[in-house]
């Protein structure tokens, strides 16, 4: 609130130069600071987008709920109401439970793969190694390549006369060569492997960023206390990047539930439904079989699963935060 006043040397005309202090708004201290409007006009500005997005989502959910009570092929003017039959049929259908089982296996494996490998890559590249930027790019490139481009390449790699089997034969391991995508026993693992390969870069980049936030003094203190590399990673770095692990867990869970691209492009959910997921199941029932009502019921079950899982994970996260806060206070 200081006002700097200078007086002209005597004899001159008095002139006051007024310069507002840095913390004072122009116009003088007497004016009150105006607050940006946050009432009805603000809501008005966001209303179109809000109505569009929320309306689109919730209206479609409600509408799907209506369709889920119909026996309808999606085109015919004849829509037969079947009540909750579509839901009971889904819950008693082995294909639904098979798709769910594949989803769980897929989730566990891809989450572990992405987390462990991403963490190791990030740790390695945090150390001073040559050509680190090149390695970062190489690890991250699969994340940005479209599945539609990668899937045909992997179909060639895992074909009976493909790259992998040729490599195995070349190094004398020909007896391990398999028709990888043609067997129910191996097809799911190929899909999982391809997904891990694709997503490791994403885990890596999150871990790399998180590790960059760790105070060097903490690491230095651990070193002074005699901790080796493994011990530092396990006891210092990993606890500090636990938030990243939780983020990956949630993202992987959501991604697994809505998975469609790789199972469809690599194996078309086969052979014999061995790589069928909820996404491919819903697509097949809708587009191929024409059971749109049944597929809508499946979609709602998928929604319930996704929301339920998000609630559980968020609740677990809050509990952990509370626990940590209590520990910190103690």
């Amino acid at each position: 609130m200081s006002v700097t006043a200078t007086t002209e040397p005597s004899g001159g005309s008095a002139r006051r130069a007024v310069r507002p202090a840095p913390d004072q708004p122009k116009g003088g201290a007497a004016r009150k600071k105006r607050r940006p409007p946050m009432g009805a006009p603000g809501i008005g500005w966001i209303a179109p987008g809000f109505i569009l997005s929320v309306g689109l989502i919730y209206f479609c959910i409600v509408y799907s709920g209506y369709i889920a009570t119909l026996d309808w092929d999606g085109m015919s003017p004849v829509r037969k109401s079947v009540g909750l039959d579509n839901f009971t049929n889904a819950l008693t259908n082995k294909l639904f439970w098979g798709a769910l089982r594949h989803t769980v296996i897929f989730y566990v494996c891809t989450f572990l793969g992405q987390t462990v490998i991403g963490f190791i890559f990030a740790a390695l590249l945090q150390s001073k190694i040559k050509l680190a930027v090149v390695y970062k790019v190489l690890v991250f490139i699969p994340v940005v390549i479209a599945p539609a481009i990668m899937a045909p390449v992997h179909r060639i790699i895992f074909a009976t006369d493909g790259t992998l089997n040729s490599f195995l034969r070349a190094i004398g391991l020909g007896h391990f060569a398999q028709p990888w995508l043609s067997q129910t026993s191996t097809a799911l693992w190929v899909v999982i492997l391809v997904q891990i390969w694709t997503s490791v870069g994403f885990g890596f980049i999150l871990f790399f960023a998180a590790m960059g936030q760790i105070e060097p003094e903490v690491l230095e203190a651990a070193r002074i206390d005699g901790a080796g590399n493994i011990r530092v990673l396990w006891s210092v770095v990993l606890p500090d990047v636990r938030g990243t692990v939780v983020v990956l867990a949630i993202l992987n869970a959501i991604g697994s539930l809505k998975l469609f691209d790789f199972p469809y492009l690599l194996t078309a959910a086969g052979p014999a439904y061995s790589t069928d997921f909820l996404g491919t199941y819903i697509y097949r029932e809708t587009a191929v079989m024409g059971h749109v009502g049944y597929a809508a019921a499946l979609s709602l079950l998928l929604l319930v699963l996704a929301v339920g899982m998000s609630i559980i994970m968020s609740a677990r996260g809050r509990e952990r935060d509370k626990r940590k806060a209590v520990e910190a206070d103690a």
Binding site: N86, S182, G270, V288
Partner: protein
């Protein structure tokens, strides 16, 4: 005050617009459910305008009609479809037709979405049944072509077409599509050039087939290209051939529910197919391959010596089509090879070899809400109801034309080896007219049955699941839909 009012008005209008867009985006038009067609004209989903076909195009006035027609299909190949259009435009230059070809698996989802959105094509392919173009899938959107056929062929139009062709495209008394041509499957195409190169003859028994395959395998060539994966139905056609070789009546009877899919004959067929795989006739990773494009590319690039496609494959006997399809299969500067049709060898050791099966392949439907309906009808009528249109179809060697008694203009058909291929193809196409079935397999198979057979074949050739268990599963899935457990 005025500014505030204007702002509120803008917000209100924006909100209303957003809500309208939301509802419109999610809704699939309630009016479709009412079936009254009142809103259908606007959405392109229905309406009875012209549905009876009473104002169908006539040959008398066709020459003065202009318009643009969009045609969608999963077949023929783009070059063949474009050739049909070129020939059509020689007669009707004022009607512009564009053809869009889809992969089999993408056709139904694309067309259903377009029709539901009121943005469907003017003309599209329909089949008697099946999962791709079955008439029942699109019947609500098609014009009844009875009057059109009457105008161009007379009241007895059905007799002008191969028997069964029009009836298999008729639904509830409505001619949903004009049959373009017939197709036959249940036989093999062989690369005669490769057979000659290795001194081999077409096999007639299972043992001979094993020997042929051994020779090809020793030379790094796939013997019999068969893709069983990807949800396509080609491998279930092989299952039908094997079943026919045991009991020619079983397959259609099982489709009709007169026989059970888990009868001993099915188990026997499964064991024959597995033996064919164990003997090296069927590839080990057949389930990892998709017939189109994988096995097609194997054959067209001469990596495979045999393939079980249908009559539509005859088009690749033509030099120009062979070169185009070989290039599409990844061959640079291709030298077209000689391909000829042969019957399947005797697979079950009976006294007969399995016969091919034939029926109408597809017809052309006209969108009853097309803005260029008259032009669309003229295009359809010319291809399916005139001799010159039918000859164009025949010359392409893609289908046997629906109109009876039409011969190819063989002088215009540029076969790779006229002496070898012409008699073989003439014989094959002649058979279609003779044996075309009134009971359409496509029409009899439900989506559930097709899916059950596709998955069953994947289990046969990709797993060690017990044969009886596979047959039981096919029986269960073929007859049970999710709503009728």
């Amino acid at each position: 005050m005025r500014t505030a009012l204007r702002f509120r008005t803008v917000v209100a209008v924006a909100a209303a617009a957003a809500l309208t867009i939301t509802v419109a985006a999610c809704s699939d038009s309630k009016d479709a459910a009412t079936g009254d067609g009142t809103a259908a004209t606007a959405t392109g989903e229905g309406g009875d305008s012209g549905g009876s076909g009473a104002d169908a195009a006539s040959p008398d006035t066709a020459s003065s009609v202009t318009g643009e027609v969009a045609w969608w299909g999963w077949t023929p190949d783009k070059d063949v479809g474009d050739n049909y259009i070129t020939e059509f435009n020689k007669v009707y230059p004022n009607i512009k037709v564009t053809f869009k070809n889809f992969e089999n698996t993408q056709y139904k989802p694309s067309l259903r979405a377009a029709l539901a959105a009121g943005e469907g094509p003017d003309v599209w392919n329909v089949a008697p049944g099946g999962d791709t173009g079955g008439v029942v899938l699109y019947a609500d959107y098609v014009e009844d072509l009875t009057q059109l056929a009457t105008n161009w062929l007379g009241a007895d139009f059905a007799t002008k077409w191969t028997p069964g062709f029009s009836s298999n495209l008729t639904l509830d008394g409505k001619l949903t599509g004009a049959p373009l041509g017939g197709v036959a499957a249940g036989f093999l195409w062989i690369n005669q050039t490769l057979f000659d190169q290795y001194g081999l003859s077409a096999p007639t028994t299972l043992d001979e087939w094993v020997d042929v395959c051994k020779t090809f395998a020793d030379n790094g060539i796939i013997c019999y290209g068969l893709g069983s994966g990807g949800g396509q139905t080609f491998a279930s056609e092989l299952l039908r051939v094997v079943l026919n070789s045991i009991d020619p009546d079983f397959f259609l009877q099982a489709c009709q529910g007169k026989r059970e899919w888990n009868e001993p004959i099915m188990v026997q067929a499964i064991e024959i197919m597995r033996q064919m795989q164990a003997d090296g006739i069927i590839e080990q990773d057949t389930v990892g391959k998709i017939h189109y494009p994988d096995s097609n590319n194997d054959f067209m690039s001469q990596r495979a010596a045999m393939n079980s496609m249908g009559t539509w494959y005859a088009q690749y006997s033509r030099k120009s089509s062979a070169i185009a399809s070989m290039e599409a299969a990844g061959v640079s500067n291709p030298e077209p090879f000689v391909m000829v049709p042969i019957m399947f060898p005797n697979l079950a050791g009976n006294d007969w070899t399995p016969q091919l099966f034939a029926e109408v392949d597809y017809g052309l439907a006209v969108n009853k809400d097309s803005k260029n309906k008259e032009a669309a009808e003229i295009f359809v009528a010319w291809l399916t109801m005139t001799e010159e249109g039918s000859r164009t179809v025949m010359n392409a060697l893609d289908l046997t034309p629906s109109l009876v008694g039409v011969e190819a203009d063989w002088d215009k058909v540029d076969l790779v080896d006229n002496a070898v291929q012409k008699p073989a193809i003439q014989e094959l196409f002649g058979e279609v007219e003779k044996i075309a079935q009134v009971e359409s397999r496509q029409k009899l198979q439900t989506a559930e049955t097709l899916q059950a057979l596709v998955v069953g074949v994947e289990q046969i050739l990709g797993t060690n699941v017990d044969a009886q268990a596979i047959a039981d599963q096919i029986q269960a899935d073929a007859t049970v839909s999710p709503l009728q457990p």
